[in-house]
Amino acid sequence: MRRVCIALACVVCILAAPHAEANHFYTDYGWRDKHYRWPAQPSGYSQIVQVFGKPCNSYANDNKTNWTAQDDQKVYPVNYHYKLGGYGKFYGGTGSKNRSSNLNNDVRGHIRNEHLGGYVTHGIYGYVCRKISGSSKWSTHAWGIAVDINTAANPFPTYRCKSMPDGLIRVWTAHRWVHGKSFGDCMHFQYASDY
């Protein structure tokens, strides 16, 4: 009987092992939400240039975080502005404590800590030196201050976001990112308003 109980306990442990991670919070691995050195959120084109420089400048893709899409199992490089990240060691941080903690540490760390990473699906990108379709206006992607996720599930334009739980959106907006749902761009998060 004792041997049966031990064997049963071993089986339970083996079955539970893959799910152990899911029961842990990211804080258990040393992560902390820092809210450190966030730049001011600009409003409109002039302020965007004032805070982040000209579109497609060298700072616009200075940071990089690799993001794994949960559906197609591909790792997408997301380049973004120097002023929006690089702090610490998480998610592509430079190891520096003098850089912003916003995207790589705070946003991504929160997503993991709240077990929301499974909702991030393919078509993930940040910096792209490109204008808005059919327009002479630069996209916020050209400054490296925009990130699109779940793009395949949310083709533009759409006002009814799919596979984009409110909790995931709240993590972004709590860190000064504006969600593009109001202008039919459910996949889109940008660090600027009125643009």
């Binding site: 794994t68 199992q73 591909k74 993930i124 990108y125 030196c129 490109r130 083709p155």
Partner: protein, 235 residues
């Protein structure tokens, strides 16, 4: 009746007089000079999605651009404005497969043992005269190998890389190899594949999206021709 007739004649005369007065006024000169499209006279790098008949251009453009969301994708322009001078052939694989156990930083999905890491796009210039004899990578398209391109180049332009006349190219233009490579990588992310990149000399035509790449000095967008631009594209 007579009164009516006199009124009509009078009104006509007044009308003629007014028209005549306007004819004597100095007219505004309307300048009809057409500004040449950006890139005319330059060597450019064209990332091409397709070459189609003018009748099919609009539909094909809409189909390809549908994947870019609110970002500008490709443009449609007459092929007669372009002369191919070389090709930028891919030398890097699209992705590299890595084991999850070796790379915990990638946070593999549940039960996945490996993931594919998207790689930077790298090109090598092949002149038009050398293209027919150029040896493409063996086992192209396999894991760890560059994507297969030769067939696509030949399908669109023939083995001698000649731009079809009277057609429409679905393309977007760049001045630097880095600009072209970054766009190809982005297009790959949103699911647009089968792109080829050629070097062309542009003799006219319309808008093909120049200016949407970084200046090599990092100051902002590249809006003008660079010194030795054609040479830089070949290096």
């Amino acid at each position: 009746m007579r009164r009516l007739k006199r009124s009509a004649i009078g009104a006509s005369l007044v009308g003629v007089a007014i028209a005549g007065a306007f004819a004597l006024l100095p007219t505004r000169t309307v300048h009809t000079t057409v500004t040449p499209a950006a890139g005319t006279g330059e060597h450019l790098l064209l990332v091409i999605a397709d070459v189609v008949t003018p009748a099919n251009a609009r539909a094909r453009l809409a189909e390809v651009n549908g994947r870019f969301g609110d970002l500008q994708g490709f443009y449609a322009d007459g092929s007669d404005a372009y002369e191919i001078t070389g090709a930028l052939v891919r030398t890097s694989p699209d992705e590299k497969r890595v084991q999850c156990s070796d790379h915990p930083e990638y946070e593999c999905p549940h039960r996945a043992t490996s993931v594919s890491v998207q790689r930077d796009v790298e090109h090598r210039f092949v002149g038009r005269g050398s293209f027919r004899e150029h040896r493409f990578t063996r086992d192209c398209g396999r894991s760890g190998r560059p994507p297969c391109e030769r067939e696509r180049f030949v399908q669109l332009f023939g083995a001698d890389l000649r731009m079809p006349r009277g057609s429409t190219v679905i393309a977007t233009a760049f001045r630097t190899p880095k600009g072209a490579a970054q766009f190809v990588a982005f297009a790959r992310t949103v699911g647009v594949r089968g792109l080829v990149t050629v070097q062309v000399s542009k003799s006219g035509g319309g808008e093909v999206g120049l200016g949407q790449e970084s200046h090599p000095d990092g100051s902002g967008p590249l809006t003008r021709e660079l010194p030795d631009q054609a040479k830089r594209q070949r290096s």
